[in-house]
């Protein structure tokens, strides 16, 4: 009986160990704040994206990915000061439902053709905030929303827009 108990205990520990290994973190974490930052030309969202990173440079590296992710899955919040309205998310599916495709979309750099850093990447010092464990940095980014939507529609991740919709 005692031997069985010891074996059982080892088995439980082993299970717990493998379970912890299998619950790996997602390949990319998305932590950002996104708001509209002005009225761009048709088909372009001008957004202010606050990204996080352990360094300023890492936050800069994350911002384009964060902005595209936000436009696809979260939408863009309104900004009364900038006189621009909210924009709903493009995708009608979740990232998790098509994880493999979106992991590839972001890791292969395909998303970069839909996003550019504005102001030549310049950031005002008031948009660079030291927080615990890193930095929160606000960049102005323009996202080619129309082209991004067409791509998502083609992949079947977004409903086709009614041409009469605004």
């Amino acid at each position: 009986m005692k031997t069985k108990l010891i074996l059982l205990s080892f088995l439980m520990c082993g299970l717990l160990f493998f379970q912890s290994c299998s619950s790996s973190k997602p390949a990319t974490s998305y932590n950002y704040e996104l708001s509209c930052n002005g009225v761009g030309v048709e088909g372009v969202y001008l957004v202010k994206c606050y990204s996080y990173g352990s360094t300023f440079e890492k936050a800069r590296q994350n911002v384009k990915k964060d902005a595209v992710h936000g436009v696809l899955f979260k939408g863009v919040s309104a900004n009364s000061i900038k006189k621009c309205k909210a924009q709903s998310k493009i995708c009608n599916v979740t990232y998790a439902e098509n994880k493999e495709w979106f992991d590839n979309f972001f890791s292969s750099g395909q998303y970069l053709q839909y996003v550019t850093l504005s102001n030549d990447g310049n950031v005002s010092s008031s948009d660079r905030i030291k927080i615990k464990g890193g930095y929160k940095v606000g960049f102005t980014v323009s996202v080619k929303s129309d082209e991004l939507r067409k791509r998502m529609e083609k992949e079947g991740f977004a409903k086709k827009m009614n041409v009469f919709d605004n």
Binding site: G38, V39, V41, L46, F56, S124, S125, S126, I129, K130
Partner: protein, 611 residues
């Protein structure tokens, strides 16, 4: 540019309003006027005032403003010296008096429509009766910093907005950053002290910030052309201050005569004095008025988007701040490091966004990272060092900004004040020995009431070169004078007459030499402003050396005879001794702890603080 185009641009630009924060800088628009008080009329020639490049000078249509109040109280040196209680003259006015006067001045300033005229200086009305926005645009182009331009270059149309459109956005800042400085400079007074004569003057000045008159969200200027003259445009006094200074000629013109230099004329003295007073004002403005401090965001490799347009000079000081999210959730600015200008970027004229950058170098500790806020917070550039060693134990230095990084001029002082102990040998040799040996038997009272004073003073230049932000070397050269002299009474006798034997006032030196020194300092910053320095130097005498000193015999204060102290006795007294080795040996034997003139290999260790 047509007004309609301008307004269209405003609508466009208003959409991108507040895209960047207040942590950017545009050269403030500045108009200057005279201000007269009941007791003090200003005689400043406004046309002769040269504003630093850091300001965008505007032509206001106001020459004088008269205010029904008295001028600030600021006593001149000559007035303080004459007063019964000089210390009372140093006391400033109370804050309430200053506030009361400033309120009266502001009231007059606004009621006389000076604010309106300042706005018209920034946005004039053209011949067609409309605002001349082309003038504003031209100003915007030349007053904006490259950072402003970069932060407005966003991709709005799938392409960058035109340069002109981007500058139009800056007009809001250009129009709202509008200041007036009012000067009160009464006639200069004549000045004289023991060594110099010339002029002395005072200047009072008041800085007004004109209220914002431009709001892009509301479509532009708040006041239409037709109503600008009659509107009540506000302002506030952001600072006021008084300064005094003197401009003088030396009373002793012998050296100037030898060099062929004429003393300054009254006009030259007046011009120099006005420049000195103005210099004090501009330096104070830059140090103390927040609105006038150039600021920007730090770029990689400690570079910034400011330069010659903002009047930067090598070794100007900047403080680096970082926005930090506090535990309470507030964003606070924290000072992170101190930097100085290493190389000034040339960015005059059009702010293209890719003008030359200015390179900074870090002093002391703390981190400097891209994206931090850099603010020019100018120091006085004066360093004080105290320490110990054979070289000197007190040094004052002054940073010479605008020439090469780390260049300073310094003055080394090594005084030996106080009484020096003389040995018996001193009283047994030389002429003094003769007097002493006669001693009390001849009725002489050897008073021993004399002392030796020595000092070592040198003036030089050094250049700090940093290996890292905390460690530097500083080679230096200097030249100066070493001098030891004896003074006071040696003996007295009052048997029949009042007889005295004293050291001569004219030939009292026992050592006088000119020397040159060259060496090296190694410095370690303890903080951003304090450092510890180890100096090693070689000093050599170029002329002069040991000297004999004279003794004077007088009866009832009438000089009867004088003679050298340690020369050989002759029939007519003692001859002057000039043998360096002999005099050196004499004083080294006869004076305890004889101060050593700096020569040969010298060293010291000093603690330095820079203000």
């Amino acid at each position: 540019m047509k007004l309609s185009h301008f307004l269209l641009s405003i609508i466009f630009c208003s959409q991108i309003n507040n895209l960047y924060s207040q942590d950017t800088y545009i050269r403030p628009g500045l108009s200057i006027i005279n201000i007269d008080f009941n007791d003090s009329k200003s005689n400043l020639n406004i046309q002769s005032v040269e504003s630093p490049k850091n300001f965008d000078f505007l032509n206001i249509n106001v020459s004088n403003l008269s205010v029904e109040t008295s001028s600030p109280k600021k006593k001149l040196l000559s007035e303080i010296a004459k007063s019964e209680n000089p210390l009372a003259g140093l006391k400033g006015e109370s804050k309430s008096s200053i506030a009361e006067r400033n309120n009266k001045i502001l009231e007059t300033f606004i009621s006389n429509k000076v604010s309106n005229k300042a706005v018209l200086a920034a946005v004039p009305i053209g011949e067609d009766g409309n605002y001349n926005f082309q003038f504003v645009l031209d100003r915007g182009v030349n007053t904006a910093s490259d950072q402003d331009v970069n932060l407005t270059s966003q991709d709005m149309m799938g392409d960058k907005g035109s340069l002109q459109d981007r500058f139009l956005y800056l007009t809001e800042k250009a129009i709202n950053s509008n200041y007036v400085i009012a000067f009160n400079m009464p006639n200069f007074l004549s000045y004289s002290d023991e060594t110099s004569y010339g002029l002395e003057g005072v200047i009072h000045y008041f800085v007004f910030k004109i209220d914002n008159v431009y709001d892009a969200d509301s479509g532009g200027l708040i006041y239409a052309e037709s109503e600008i003259n009659n509107s009540q445009i506000g302002a506030k006094v952001i600072t006021s201050k008084s300064f005094t200074s003197t401009s003088t000629n030396s009373k002793d013109q012998s050296l100037n005569k030898k060099l062929g230099i004429l003393p300054k004329s009254n006009e030259e003295l007046a011009s120099e004095l006005q420049n000195l007073l103005m210099q004090k004002i501009w330096e104070y403005n830059l140090r103390e008025v927040d609105e006038f401090k150039p600021k920007t965001t730090l770029k990689p490799k400690n570079k910034i988007n400011l330069g010659t347009k903002e009047d930067l000079k090598i070794d100007n000081r900047f403080q680096l701040y970082e926005n930090v999210l506090s535990k309470s959730g507030e964003i606070v600015k924290k000072k992170r490091a101190m930097l100085r200008v290493k190389k000034v970027g040339v960015n005059d004229g059009l702010a293209s966004g890719d003008s030359d950058l200015t390179k900074l170098y870090k002093i002391g500790y703390g981190k400097s990272q891209e994206g931090m806020l850099v603010v020019q917070e100018e120091d006085k550039g004066i360093g004080v060092s105290v320490g110990y060693g054979t070289l000197s134990w007190l040094r004052l230095d002054y940073r010479l900004k605008g020439i090469t990084p780390g260049l300073m001029t310094f003055i080394d002082v090594h005084p030996y004040p106080g009484k020096v102990e003389f040995t018996d040998y001193f009283y047994e040799n030389g002429l003094l020995g003769s007097v002493a040996s006669a001693g009390s038997s001849a009725g002489w009272d050897i008073s021993d009431d004399f002392s030796a004073f020595g000092f070592n003073l040198s003036l030089g230049f050094e250049k700090q070169t940093y290996f890292s932000s905390a460690l530097y070397i500083s080679p230096f050269v200097s030249g100066g004078i070493s001098n030891y002299s004896i003074s006071g009474q040696i003996a007295s006798r009052t048997v029949i007459f009042d007889e005295k034997i004293e050291w001569s006032d004219e030939e009292s030196d026992i050592y006088n030499a000119y020397f040159v020194t060259g060496g090296l300092r190694v410095g370690l910053q303890l903080t951003n402003t304090a450092s510890i320095n180890l100096s090693i130097a070689q000093s050599a005498v170029v002329s002069g050396g040991w000297k004999d000193a004279k003794i004077v015999y007088s009866i009832d204060d009438e000089v009867i005879a004088d003679g050298w102290n340690i020369g050989d006795p002759t029939g007519e007294g003692f001859s002057e001794e000039s043998d360096q080795e002999y005099i050196d040996a004499f004083y080294n034997t006869s004076i305890d702890q004889l101060p050593t003139a700096p020569a040969g290999l010298l060293y010291n260790i000093m603690l330095r603080y820079e203000f």
